[in-house]
Amino acid sequence: MIAFDIVLTLGLLACAAMALTLRDRTASIAAFVVAGLLIALSWVRLAAPDVALAEAAIGAGVTGALFLRSARRIGPITGGPVGGMSASIAAALGAGGLSAALFWAFAGTSGPVPYPPLVAANLEASGVTNPVTAVLLNFRAWDTLLEIAVLAVALALVVMLGPAPVVPRALGELVLPFARIVVPLAILVAGHLLWQGATAPGGAFQAGAVLAGGMLALVLAGIGPAGERIVRGALLLGLAGLAVFVGAALAAEGLTGRFLGYPAGAEKAWIIAIEASLTLSIAATLCLLFTGPVRRPHQ
């Protein structure tokens, strides 16, 4: 496997260098997406399949789509590199120095890490058997709730700034058959990832990103959110995730006396219910970040 790791690392560095230096925006974004997929592979090699799924779906997939959308808006690269040669050298030296310092610092930490055994010892009481889900939706659910708030704020920002909505161009005869296969598949895979999250790698973020991919296929095929009412519905769906999560946290406190403390025995039901609404909400949010909302009329 060591040969694979070396090829992976070299490929990653090459993609990163291409993403930084290519003078064509589409090519540079393509390199970024490939780099994201290689990073996802690296996470698999580091035995972190949950992170790998999230990186592939969000880091490479959704972010790449957002980049492509922005690249079309801002047009081709004009002029030379920012700051010229000396700035590039200074940036390279700075980044290299920081990486070396971090490598030294992380390599020097070898003590026992007490957190994973702690999670393992309490896994039974969490209601799920996937330790990652147990941490994200139970032990440290407050972090996840606030992450959902970050997404909601991002959505509010996009609504406020009101970027020009995407108007899909006719993409050719193969788009519709492609969408006919991809959309149902995305729904199935999202449902599978969501349910599987309780016991194996998966969960709301990954499922939401896959579902968003399916929705984007619909939009690009020209079938998807066209009317203002559908976009408005997607906005409400996107915001609903945070409301449901906060509502569940308070409801749990009403039942058990502990904020975010799910009733004993019903933890799994609560976690799956919260994750299901988060999946829909994340999918709607990611989709709206791409398509942009319908501009509200000026007052």
């Binding site: 610092a105 930490t109 026992p112 704020v153 406020m160 700034l161 904020f259």
Partner: protein
Amino acid sequence: MTEASLIVSLPLLAAVVTAASARVARPVGLIATAANAALAILLARRVLAEGAQVTHLGGWEAPLGIAFETDGLAAVMILMAAIVGVAVAVQASDDRTPRSATDPGAFWPLWLATLGAMNALFLSADLFNLYVTFEILGLAAVGLTALTGTRRALRAAFDYLSAGLAGSLLLLLGVALAYAAAGQVDLSVVPALTESAQGRISLALIFAGLAVKAALFPLHFWMPAAHSSAAPVASALLSALVVKAAIYVALRLSLDGGIGAEPLRVAMAAAGAGAMLWGSWHALRADRLKLLVAHSTVAQVGLISLALGVAPGAADSTLWHAAVLLMLSHAFAKAAMFLAVGRIAEELGHDRISGLNREELRPGAAEFAFAVAAVSLIGLPPTAGFVGKWVLIEGLIDRDAWIWVALVFAGTVLSAAYLSRVVSRCLRGGPHVAPGARRPQWRAGDVAALGLAVSALLLGLGSALPFALLEITVT
């Protein structure tokens, strides 16, 4: 339901409602801001009556889960955000206040998300959780900067976003390294972090990230443009509250770190002294009112950072109590000042300092509020700024730290100089003002600015309450 869980939930729920419907945004936003203030008072009363509380979220004890630590410092900070928030909401609810051109309701979800994130941040006792609250805060603050939708505001918002992301990355690297070094990320791990090289690097990275977010010299480069090109209500929130969040976390880490955090404190004190001189110099030379007030924030953040830097950990509480009082004083006075500047610019149609000598318009309530806020920022009695500086200088003299005393005095003289550039022009009567000059109309913004300026004044007389609250710590 406890006050702590309600005070973090309510603003987030209200943010969702106001983002979903622009029609109900204003009433819901006002009610939520008022309810938050009521909850903040209840929370402070409970802390005074029953002492500090520790809440394990979901019943999972740290380090497995996340804890809220509701001590006196957290209660004081939550009260500060609540009071400034009420005044800003009053001004924002005035229909005639200039706001976003594209979306008039956009202020409310951004403000309520800011409020929820700040309440969560003040209560949190977990490094990673603090990082997440900064993510909400940073994104909402970028939105507040861009609120007016002008090209200059969008440019400043983008620079702010870039600087904020750099700060977040440093913070996240620091937290990741702390986890690698110590295996847990609750705040009780901070003393252990000061004992290993990796832990010290992680703390240094976290402090660097906080310095970017607090606009501490020399990492303040993004701030004057962002704070001076935003809408007045947004500038007031950014300058009075958002930079305080980072300073608050630095204070917590410095208190928890004890003697081991001494090198970081020295760095903070030195950066603070630099910020005081640099910010004051630029405030003296600013040609626009908002730019002067924004540069004054650089200088005042420097003074607070200096006070935190010379405070020797939790054992001796005088100096850090003084720093907290300076934070409160700056929050009230600076919010008042930005709201007043917004009103002045609205009446005059511009905010050039040279144009404050005017003939056809008499100075009004906004100018008065500016002057009262200036008195508090300079630190004249009986304001909170005076009490804070008095306690700080007394503590420094006890330590024979004469260089720091001299720097605090120099900063005070400079702040008097740049603020009188504005106040002296408003005071001029006689031949400068025509007999038939009109008076500006009273508006909600005047009430908000005056209310905050008077709060800063009264806080000086009632500073026993924050001092009593600050004594209450988790034992």
